[in-house]
């Protein structure tokens, strides 16, 4: 009888072990002083720094531009109910020269990662978030701008596109945190090149765009 109970306890322990739950605790480490950084690491809480007299707000110093970056957009975001700067942005031209094939490839990548999800990989406003590939509606209710085939967007000046990408427009949010100034202008070059290509034109960047797009 004694044997039986010992074996039963052992077996039950094994069973209990095998159906243990999700691992919610990370566990321990050998040498904490080598595992955990004393210097400030990304995403470490920084609310105690102020009490140590260290100024830290995780933001770049206002007015600074990173090396190799274009100058920032000269227009501010419109106040609610105002469109003055949105209209004024039409006059601003793309400061980037026509993209080289390598840059075009990079711009295409940026477009597919950041824009294609709504505006569609083919710029047809049917990204998987709005329209699934099987034809059903995705969760995104608003119709994303149809960049190819809608004269509104085909004729939209690049500066105004940049304004929308930088500050957001209607349901679209600002992409300034995901794309740098240069990257945003590159994506706009890409869209314009694709629009020109769809029209069969050889307008700016179209010819070059063709050769790279077919790779």
């Amino acid at each position: 009888m004694k044997k039986l109970s010992i074996i039963a306890v052992l077996v039950l322990a094994v069973v209990a072990w095998s159906c243990s739950d999700v691992r919610r605790e990370p566990g321990r480490v050998y040498m904490p002083d080598m595992a955990y950084s004393r210097a400030y690491e990304s995403y470490a809480p920084h609310d105690t720094l102020a009490s140590q007299g260290i100024f830290y707000n995780a933001k770049p110093v206002p007015g600074t531009i990173k090396r190799g970056e274009l100058f920032p957009f000269p227009l501010e975001k419109d106040k609610q109910g105002d469109t003055a700067n949105y209209v004024a942005s039409k006059k601003i031209v793309n400061p980037l020269p026509v993209l080289t094939p390598d840059q075009f490839k990079e711009a295409e990548r940026l477009y597919l990662v950041n824009c294609g999800i709504c505006h569609g990989a083919k710029l047809d406003g049917a990204g998987p978030l709005h329209k699934r590939s099987d034809g059903t509606d995705g969760p995104y209710a608003a119709q994303p701008a149809i960049l190819l085939g809608n004269p509104t967007y085909e004729n939209m000046p690049e500066g105004q596109m940049f304004y929308s990408v930088t500050y957001g427009k209607n349901q679209m949010g600002s992409y300034a945190s995901q794309l740098s100034t240069t990257q945003r202008w590159m994506v706009i070059h890409y869209i314009k090149a694709k629009q020109a290509e769809a029209k069969g034109g050889s307008a700016s960047g179209g010819a070059k765009a063709d050769s790279t797009a077919k790779k």
Partner: protein, 421 residues
């Protein structure tokens, strides 16, 4: 040459535009849906408020057809004329200006209105009722219990057999008149004790070693996050690229956790969860809509007024993949130069509701991959990463057919100070 470009471009554009518009007009008159999609859809939906109000029943709200046409074509003029309904509406929508559409003909506007009148909400798409993870879990533990019970039964049978055997032996001995020696109880039997000690030593040693190796390793670590964010819904069902949120993986050491404004890019519009039900590990269902509200709270977004209140609160996500401080790891080096897929180290993220650490992230795991992975070595035809052209010896060896590929370890991927310094 360059001077002519803009003119040519403009001329071409306008010709194309005119031709497009003229074709468009003819087609569009019949197709209110397309017109709606092209002109109204970015801000309006028939059955849901977006940037602008839901348009269902617009003709009942604005009985004057002429006024409605005027509003659609040029809302600024109607506002200037001081129409009460539209002025109130404008104020209610926090003076968000509507675009003007001077080019829409009466026929086209009627087609749009007809489309709105006859609009029927599409039948809610159910992407195949997936069995909750709870079911799968149950199946697994069922097996475990089954095996446990089987082992128990076998152990009991073995015990009974042993007892029967010894009893039979005793009976047989009695019959043959062999003097039965006093039986020794099993806990004093030296053979038993030795065997038991050995077994305990092996089992104990196994778990001690296992525990010691497991120190500092977080495989399968699956912390509870402040918001139930499902990677399966976002990266799987909705096919959002990993780099959309974790853009840092391409450009920096950290893959970066997206700030809440990235969530709001989509969740300003997507304010409810309508997909297949999601279950937590304990079987309770996740209220997706409630989780989306948590984003609004963090972002300081008032979904009713459609405005930011400015009261933001950081979301304190729990970091899952932690490397010790004495290890250097850079995402961009692996993702961009090495072209390693995210899934190689993070597992089938597109199938995980809650993310858990997939890889061991131990040194052996790193080293093993560095030994096996071939680098994108360049060749004479222009393929591959041109950085590697400095490795002349390997190029010569490849040419001499002495080697066919170069692994990460060949170019110093196993040197200590590559990762420890």
């Amino acid at each position: 040459m360059i001077d002519h470009r803009p003119i040519a471009k403009r001329a071409l554009l306008s010709v194309l535009l005119i031709s497009l518009l003229s074709i468009g007009n003819k087609l569009a008159a019949q197709d209110g849906a397309t017109l709606f999609q092209n002109n109204c859809g970015t801000c309006h939906r028939v059955d849901k408020d977006l940037t602008g109000p839901a348009l269902k029943g617009i003709e009942d709200r604005v009985k004057d057809k002429k006024l409605l046409h005027a509003w659609i074509r040029n809302n600024q003029a109607v506002l200037a004329s001081g129409d009460k309904y539209f002025t109130d509406l404008y104020a209610k929508w926090s003076k968000t200006p509507m675009n003007v559409f001077p080019n829409l003909t009466d026929g086209e506007i009627d087609a749009i209105l007809k489309y709105i009148r006859e609009y029927k909400a599409p039948v809610a798409s159910t992407t195949g009722g997936e069995a909750g993870p709870a079911d799968g879990k149950m199946g697994e533990s069922d097996h475990a219990i089954l095996y446990g019970v089987l082992t128990l039964i076998l152990a009991v049978i073995a015990l009974i057999m042993l007892t029967v055997n010894s009893n039979l032996k005793k009976l047989a001995d009695d019959k043959e008149g062999v003097p039965a020696h006093e039986p020794i109880p099993f806990y004093r039997n030296k053979t038993y004790i030795t065997i038991l000690t050995l077994i305990l030593f092996v089992i104990g040693g196994f778990y001690v070693v296992k525990g010691a190796i497991g120190l500092g390793r977080y495989k399968d670590y699956e912390p509870e996050q402040p918001i139930y964010y499902s990677h399966k819904v976002h990266a799987g069902t909705n096919q959002i690229n990993c780099l959309y949120c974790h853009g840092g993986a391409w450009e920096s050491k950290q893959a970066s956790i997206p700030s809440v404004n990235v969530c709001m890019n989509c969740h300003q519009t997507i304010n409810e969860y309508t997909g297949a039900p999601i279950y937590k590990a304990d079987g309770t269902e996740v209220n997706g809509t409630e989780e989306i509200r948590k984003i609004y709270k963090a972002a300081g977004w008032d979904p009713a007024k459609k405005q930011y209140t400015g009261e933001e609160k950081p979301i304190e996500w729990v970091k899952i993949h932690n490397l010790p401080d004495h290890v250097y790891f850079n995402h961009s080096q692996h993702v961009r130069a090495g072209k390693v897929q995210c899934q190689t180290c993070h597992g089938e993220i597109t199938n995980m509701h809650e993310v858990k650490q997939f890889a061991e992230l131990s040194m052996a795991w790193c080293v093993n991959c560095h030994r096996e992975t071939k680098v994108d070595f360049n060749d004479d035809k222009g393929n591959g990463n041109k950085f590697y052209s400095i490795y002349e010896k390997y190029h010569d060896e490849i040419k001499a057919k002495k080697r066919d590929s170069v692994t990460v370890s060949d170019i110093g991927g196993l040197e200590c100070q590559k990762c420890h310094y």
